[in-house]
């Protein structure tokens, strides 16, 4: 006299749910190079750790009171573990009615976000759906229309200030699905099989007259640099690697300090090549990525915001301690700050402030972008926003001035009115304006009055050149320490422990909500 019959019924219904859209639809999905949602979840999570929730939700058909057929809701979610840490993961089942929400059970989406918010667990979204309530057919089904509301959006937005949110665009994703991808701290687009757009080709054709394929409208080519996602990856496997990687630097929520790992890379490693990493010729750019690799724990540099152009942002580790990193790539426009770069920097600072990661700035900043194109885009306002983010952040910050530091951009790389652990390399080159740019403007009247303008120009230049030495700045305590570049890693590994000692008193929600 037990409940075994009901248990049998339960298992039967679970099995029906796991058939998803049926053998044919699942095979078609696979043939496009896409994994079905439960396979994606299994590939992402630690083996066997997925605990699905809401498996039984869906549309049932009965005959003579008996369950005849069952179409599962096309949103699958539950909890699981990534590197043994619990997360909430949810994703769309594209094999059922193209993943549109009108076939799904809205409650599952809401419950997933609410669970992440209340249990304070990272939220992972594997998005492969055509949007939210976006089918005109629903008018017929309901017999009325409605003012739209994005389901669970109170939790979706609050989660940005509570837990790490990571999203992958893994198919053709429009509208609400696209919004769920981008309302995250880190987002990924799978190049071979995914596109992301506000609305797909049919709506666009109606709205703007453009006749475009899905790839042309929102494929990798569009979004590699558009800023809509952090990174474009070549496969689903790489997407899962990126998700796991990103989460490994962050705590499970804002109430915990970032996870410190054991580190086999010696904190006192001094790389010989750092002594000549910066070219003596001011016109020759420095290769920033090998430089970063020489400073941070081996293999620990994890780049974010690949659309950032000359601004390089990353997560990394120092002696096992996660940190945020801001650097410049002078191979791109000499390293100037553009709109995209400013956005990347703002997001990195806000991410680190939210999750309490100390920040390391490797300064080589010639300044904010100039010229008509830059002006048309309103560049300095976006740069000012990045600087405001820096000044509003309270996480411990260290700065290594490796080369240039000029102008409003250079000034704004760290909070120069607060405490920053600052070191300068002998290659440091700083000022309000570089002599090259500022001479003609500052000495205009003298030059105009002169008989031999060129000779006077050379004269002034030589005179000012002598004043440019970082040692003169140090004499006036304009910079606290000039160091041997090879000492950078040991110094930063020492600093990071001081930084982490401050974190416990800073934990908790950010003072201003975090936005995508």
């Amino acid at each position: 006299m037990s409940w075994q019959p009901e248990l049998d019924e339960l298992r039967k219904r679970e099995a029906m749910a796991k058939e998803m859209g049926g053998t044919e639809k699942v095979a078609k999905h696979r043939s496009h190079g896409k994994l079905p949602i439960r396979d994606r979840i299994a590939a992402l999570l630690d083996a066997g750790s997925f605990r699905e929730i809401g498996t039984l939700a869906g549309k049932a058909e009965y005959e003579n009171g008996q369950l005849k057929s069952f179409m599962a809701a096309n949103f699958i979610y539950g909890t699981g573990r990534i590197d043994q840490r619990k997360v909430v993961v949810g994703g769309d089942d594209f094999t059922i009615r193209g993943g549109a929400s009108d076939a799904g059970i809205r409650g599952k989406q809401i419950h997933a976000e609410q669970m992440a918010n209340s249990l304070r667990l990272p939220m992972v979204r594997l998005v492969d759906g055509t949007g939210g309530g976006g089918s005109v057919k629903m008018l017929e089904r309901y017999g009325y229309t409605y003012v739209p509301a994005n389901p669970a959006w109170n939790y979706v937005v609050d989660n940005m200030s509570m837990v790490p949110v990571v999203a992958a665009c893994m198919g053709s994703v429009a509208g609400l699905g696209a919004a769920r991808v981008v309302t995250s701290h880190f987002s990924i687009l799978v190049e071979p099989t995914a596109q992301l757009f506000t609305a797909g080709p049919p709506v666009v054709k109606f709205a703007t007259g453009e006749n475009l394929s899905k790839e042309e409208l929102g494929g990798a080519q569009i979004h590699r640099k558009s800023g809509v996602v952090d990174v474009v990856v070549p496969s689903e496997e790489e997407a899962f690697r990126q998700i796991r990687g990103f989460l490994s630097y962050l705590p499970s929520n804002v109430y915990q300090a970032p996870p410190v790992q054991p580190c086999s890379d010696p904190a006192d490693r001094r790389e010989e090549k750092l002594l000549s990493a910066v070219p003596r010729n001011r016109r020759q750019p420095v290769r920033i990525r090998p430089l970063m690799a020489a400073i941070f724990d081996v293999g620990s540099v994890f780049e974010l915001a690949r659309y950032g152009g000359a601004v390089v942002t990353a997560l990394a580790r120092l002696d096992g301690h996660p940190v945020g990193v801001i650097a410049s790539d002078p191979y791109i426009a000499g390293g100037v700050m553009t709109v995209e770069g400013s956005d990347a920097m703002t997001r990195l600072v806000d991410l680190c402030q939210t999750f309490h990661l100390p920040v390391v700035v490797l300064t080589d900043q010639p300044g904010i972008a100039v010229g008509t194109h830059a002006e048309r885009r309103g560049t300095i306002r976006y740069a000012a926003r990045a600087v405001a983010a820096v000044y509003q952040a309270t996480v411990p910050t260290a700065e290594i001035i490796i080369r240039k530091c000029f102008g409003v951009g250079g000034a704004g790389m760290t909070n120069r009115h607060g405490f920053v652990q600052r070191y300068a390399w002998p290659s440091g080159d700083w000022g309000s304006l570089p002599v090259e740019g500022g001479l003609e403007a500052a000495y205009r009247s003298e030059l105009e009055a002169s008989d031999d303008r060129q000779a006077l120009l050379e004269d002034i230049r030589a005179r000012l050149e002598a004043f440019r030495s970082p040692f003169r700045t140090a004499e006036n305590f304009g910079v606290e320490e000039i160091i041997d570049p090879r000492d950078t890693r040991p110094l930063l590994c020492d600093w990071v422990r001081d930084a982490y000692a401050l974190l416990p008193s800073q934990l908790g929600r950010p003072s201003h909500g975090t936005r995508p």
Binding site: I332, G335, G437
Partner: protein
């Protein structure tokens, strides 16, 4: 033979053209050098291959995303 379009990542001028059409480049070898923001920025071969076309000459002004070189890999 896949062809690779090498576009400029910056707005600036072509300072030096170091390679010729028909030359076989190895990965990371410098094809030409742009000047932007008072920096000499090398444009390198993203993969080994033969230069099929160089669209710019020394002194030319270039804009971001402008096609510079076509490489056949």
């Amino acid at each position: 033979m896949p062809s690779i379009n090498i576009e400029s990542e910056v707005t600036g001028t072509v300072w030096k053209v170091e390679a010729r059409v028909g030359q076989v480049m190895s990965e990371d070898e410098t094809i030409l050098i742009l000047e932007s923001m008072k920096m000499e920025i090398p444009v390198t071969a993203p993969a080994g291959g033969k230069i099929v076309d160089i669209k710019v000459a020394e002194g030319d002004h270039v804009t971001e995303q402008q096609l510079l070189v076509v490489l056949e890999s």
